[in-house]
């Protein structure tokens, strides 16, 4: 009889204990997940800040290799300025760019006179390189055409700095002429080019055996455009 009277109280007590435990567990889980969220947000903020700092401090340099040793490269840039590149065997990565694709290479693949693009942080002792890309150097320039050689298929161009540059027109050189009526570019042949025209050109920045540059493409602005 007494047991029957006590039994609901026992059940009620057990239920109460479960309820308290359940609430306590729920609160603990909530506090754990909120602290995890805070950590994640903090991590993201740090990552963004690091990326921003890297972006601010990172600079790009390019030039031809003139000296090559184990942890150091010396390059000469387009203005003939020498730059020291410090290499880190564990951090610095090397790539070769060809046909707009990059392929990872090793330090041992680098050679003297290679044209490289270096990204890294500048210090008092040079540039601490993160990435080194072996790339191709291009000459992009323009000037007035002062001489045409129809036998040798070359053009002598007088640039804005009064320098005379000779470019070879190869079979694969893309030749474009500005149509002065509709300002569209039209494909042309060598015979359409005249002395006095303005030539905008792209060539590989290394001279061939004839001491000429090999043109990749040219845009001809006919002299008639300026007589309008």
């Amino acid at each position: 009889m007494i047991f029957k009277k006590i039994l609901p109280s026992i059940f009620f007590f057990i239920f109460l204990v479960f309820l308290i435990n359940f609430i306590a567990f729920g609160q603990e889980k909530n506090s754990t997940s909120s602290s995890e969220k805070e950590v994640e947000i903090l991590k993201e903020k740090i990552a963004i800040k690091v990326a921003e700092l890297r972006q601010e401090n990172n600079q790009a340099f390019s030039g031809n290799i003139i000296n090559l040793s184990e942890n150091l490269i010396e390059i000469k840039d387009k203005d003939d300025k020498k730059i020291l590149i410090n290499l880190d065997p564990t951090l610095t990565k090397y790539y070769r760019i060809k046909n707009n694709q990059k392929k990872e290479i090793n330090f041992s693949d680098l050679e003297k006179n290679d044209y490289i693009v270096v990204s890294g942080i500048i210090t008092d002792k040079g540039v601490n390189a993160n990435l080194i890309f072996v790339d191709e150097r291009y000459l992009v320039d323009f000037g007035r055409l002062i001489e045409i050689n129809k036998e040798g298929y070359w053009l002598k161009i007088n640039t804005l700095t009064n320098e005379n540059i000779i470019i070879d027109i190869e079979t694969n050189t893309k030749q474009w002429l500005l149509n002065i009526k509709n300002l569209e570019l039209e494909k042309i042949g060598f015979s359409k080019i005249k002395e006095g025209d303005m030539i905008n050109f792209v060539a590989k920045d290394s001279k061939n055996e004839s001491d000429h540059f090999s043109a990749q493409k040219i845009i001809v602005i006919p002299q008639e455009y300026f007589l309008k």
Partner: protein
């Protein structure tokens, strides 16, 4: 000749001489004034141009030179004189257009690595000097 007659002749000569000097001086002053007016008229013609040429130097607002980017395209923004012929050339792209306004804004693709982009402006008037700027932009997707 009587003494009185001699005095009258001398006085007449003096008056005549003084009168002649006044006339000569007056004439020469008029001449100088006229010349001055002519010179000033000429000057005003020389230094007041009737037509004003609005010349704008080539400026590139975006992007900065030697920029490292992680996308294979940039937007080039700048300004030049109205109706100039603008040629933008790189190893992978050529753009030729005549800008109707001073400002221009064009999207330009980038190749992996170093991009040498030459911007040449041929002004509408052939007596104005051709202008150019070269941008070195680095597309290094791993870097950022």
């Amino acid at each position: 000749m009587k003494k009185e007659s001699l005095i009258a002749v001398v006085l007449g000569l003096i008056f005549g001489f003084v009168f002649a000097i006044f006339i000569v001086l007056g004439l020469s002053q008029n001449k100088v004034e006229k010349e001055n007016i002519l010179v000033s008229e000429k000057k005003s013609v020389t230094f007041s141009p009737t037509k004003k040429l609005n010349l704008e130097l080539l400026t590139i607002d975006k992007p900065k030179n030697n920029l490292i980017v992680s996308k294979n395209q940039i937007t080039i923004e700048g300004s030049v004189s109205k109706d100039s012929l603008v040629v933008i050339q790189s190893p992978i792209k050529d753009l030729v257009f005549q800008n109707k306004d001073k400002k221009f804004k064009v999207d330009f693709p980038l190749a992996l690595g170093e991009n040498v982009i030459k911007i040449v402006v041929y002004p509408k008037f052939s007596n104005i000097k051709i202008q150019e700027k070269t941008l070195f932009i680095y597309y290094l997707p791993n870097e950022i």
